[in-house]
Assembly symmetry: C2
């Protein structure tokens, strides 16, 4: 029986060449100008899945960017694993902060540097290459399907509808996803829960035109001042979110579970040093990992208004804008939270301005139970490759579609990802370590055998 380590060693240059070709297509889903790139990327992945040994693969339209589907059915009575991933990436601005072209991957210091190197082109590729190894060496005993979408970074707005339409096509026993992080370079980690998301945009309008801040200053509401005050009022001095009803559905985590979480390795000094901050900041009464893992949060993701150029301009703008998102925990419902936010912002706005609140994408929180056969198989795969039991992680991030899969397809997802906080996903200078890229491929190949055994129990 061929050895995966040998196979990787013999094929690593090709693996990287193929991944780099994928990364070079700037598939930014939030920017309309990249629409043609989305289709090119989908075609590229279809070809990768076919070359890896799938029986079939195709680019299937959705109401937004297309979804790549592929499958290999080795035995209709064997378990079926559905690989989910996404081929779209985040915007690259501020582009001037990148040390090299975000869409021209380079290898430096043992890492691949590029937008999408990790999230999710690099991680998703670990699944395609693991599949390739098992097929080419005759070791695949499960059925495998692929569902690779192009709108994850904008909240997968069309995948729920697509899943409903293609429910039979993607039917499977478990979904395996590599789009999360490990807590150390060689510390295997399985994400047990994800936060949900409600993402809002606020527009505050004062006068119907930009005004001279001398002639009108002090007498007419300045929408930036008003917006700042409204944002400030959303979080109180204890770090609690001050939107009425916000915490009503929050599932409080037991003291026992909090004690479990506290056992995960974490060094606050190193954390602060890595971010170059003197102090962390958050909800009173909770640790840093609890603040991101089991508590909701509210962040302004963007703000703009007035004169933002060089020098000075004495203007009171007509409008000010903010993008504000909230991370949610079990059992918060994102539509309800969006409604509470909107009602609150409309209620606190002074009569001197007009306020418009709209919801961008949102998503439900998710929990991956540790007794699930897929979770147990993933744990064993981690032990095989990293030599340790994986750390169970309560992640602060969101993959809203995971909750949708459970609701629409009735399938649980296993979050076995190979990222790391140092990879700067969503930021300038995203990277992915070669170590984790290759170990990820290896761990994925081990998952299948263990999953087959677990399903027989």
């Amino acid at each position: 029986m061929s050895n995966i380590k040998t196979y990787i060693e013999e094929n690593k240059e090709r693996f990287l060449d193929e991944l780099f070709g994928l990364i070079r297509i700037p598939s930014i889903s939030s920017q309309a100008e990249h629409k043609p790139d989305m289709v090119r990327t989908a075609e590229y992945i279809k070809d990768s899945i076919l070359s890896a040994g799938a029986d079939r693969a195709e680019v299937i339209p959705s109401s937004g960017n297309p979804v790549v589907f592929g499958e290999k059915i080795v035995d209709p009575t064997a378990p079926t694993v559905l690989i989910y991933g996404h081929y779209d990436v985040m915007p690259v601005d501020p582009v001037e902060l990148w040390n090299s072209n975000p869409f021209e991957p380079v290898i430096r210091d043992g890492r691949i540097w590029a937008r999408g190197a990790n999230d999710d082109k690099g991680q998703m590729f670990t699944q395609i290459k693991a599949f390739e190894y098992l097929v080419k060496t005759g070791q695949l005993k499960n059925n495998v399907k692929f569902m690779i979408e192009g709108e994850e970074e904008i909240g997968s707005p069309n995948l729920e509808e697509w899943c409903k339409k293609y429910k039979d096509l993607v039917a499977a026993d478990v979904i395996l996803i590599s789009d999360t992080s490990m807590i150390g370079e060689n510390t295997p980690t399985l994400t047990q829960s994800l936060r949900g998301l409600a993402y809002m945009e606020v527009e505050v309008t004062g006068a119907n035109q930009d005004l001279h801040s001398g002639i009108f200053g002090g007498a007419v509401a300045n929408p930036i001042n008003v917006l700042a005050k409204m944002i400030a009022s959303c979080i109180d001095d204890n770090g609690h979110i001050a939107i009425p009803g916000f915490y009503d559905d929050v599932l409080e985590v037991s003291a026992e579970d909090r004690a479990m979480l506290a056992r995960a390795p974490f060094n606050l000094d190193e954390y602060k040093k890595a971010l170059d901050i003197d102090e962390v900041q958050g909800e009173a009464g909770f640790s840093t990992n609890e603040r991101t893992g089991i508590r909701p949060s509210l962040d302004v993701n963007g703000i703009w208004g007035g004169y933002t150029g060089e020098g000075s301009k004495t203007v009171t703008p007509s409008k000010a804008f903010a993008k504000i998102s909230m991370r949610l925990v079990p059992n918060q419902e994102h539509h309800k939270i969006s409604d509470l936010f909107k009602a609150h912002f409309e209620a606190i706005a002074p009569k001197s301005v007009k306020v418009k609140v709209t919801a961008h994408h949102g998503g439900a929180p998710y929990v991956s139970p540790s007794e699930h056969p897929g979770y147990r198989a993933a744990s064993k795969a981690c032990v095989d490759v990293f030599g340790d039991q994986p750390i169970p992680l309560r992640s602060g991030g969101s993959i809203p579609i995971v909750a949708v899969f459970e609701k629409v397809l009735g399938i649980k997802s296993i979050l076995m990802g190979y990222g790391h906080e140092s990879d700067r996903v969503h930021s300038p200078n995203e990277s992915f370590s070669l170590n984790r890229f290759f170990k990820g491929i290896e761990a994925n190949t081990h998952f299948y055998g263990h999953y087959n055994e677990e399903m027989k129990k």
Copy 2:
């Protein structure tokens, strides 16, 4: 004796052609790319002053953009009037809100539409054309000097030094300035006071890199949230500025003077309707005109940070920025206010962020006394042309250099301007009514004779 009305009628097309040539040069002083345009504009004005009949005119370097100086000495024993104006203009963004090219003036609805149509190219041109009329018709009995600068919109950072150097060259009995507004299309107005200005820029830094708002949200300070809270804390619920010491030097206006001010025609409903606002907003206990005329104010002129593009991005940015200006009243000192602001912002910043506060330009408030011979001459000129005594105005705007003239040159300035609030100076779609452009020229010609008589009293 030739009549000014006839002269205007016969030369109006030429006047407009010449003004349009001036407006077409995009002399935006706050943007470095326009540096060559500043020199071109100065040369254009030098030529205009020479053609109008000056003995001499030249473009004199300063440490920034050059100053245009010109003069006609008709009698060394006669009074000398120094005309001050500025040839630089404000930026034009957001440029997509303009109905026509900001630097291609058009006449529509009885107005000239362009950046600088009013502020100050159009208004300054009323002085050059009045001078031309008096010279060409042999009616000039005063000496006239011109000092036209190119950095007013960025706070005249180099004119104080220039005035010290050329103090003898620009020596005069009074300074006449057309760079202010009338309170109605045909309601003559003399500005009696101007507010001062302190203009600050604030940079708030959280982590050393943009962060994923899911992974870090709730545990690491978000500089936008922090900045919003800091801005909100600067103004209390009564509209008072909450910076310690801010009001210490404010000259409170007497009940008698406030009663005088209240007699100026003002219709709050029309004011609100023109701005399309449901309510005004400002310091408790003061009227709208008091809020801009005799009370200081604090406005955010620009704010930016995080993702401001299309769609959504779940980022906690590393930095957030704001441009914040304060309008000052007699006896506030702008350097002291800048220091108070900086100290306050540094004091209220939480330890989870770093704050950098820098001062842009500033300027002192100014008062123009009604018993001054220049003020009385301007009043009479207004009566001649508009048929009414001018309204004395406490303006909310700032012309910081006016206080500098008093300090360095020892000369009082008379603020006889022809703008109007509907002209949208500093905003998209700036304009200047032809009515006020031509009446301005007319009123300026009347000023000189009255000033000569007042000086003989």
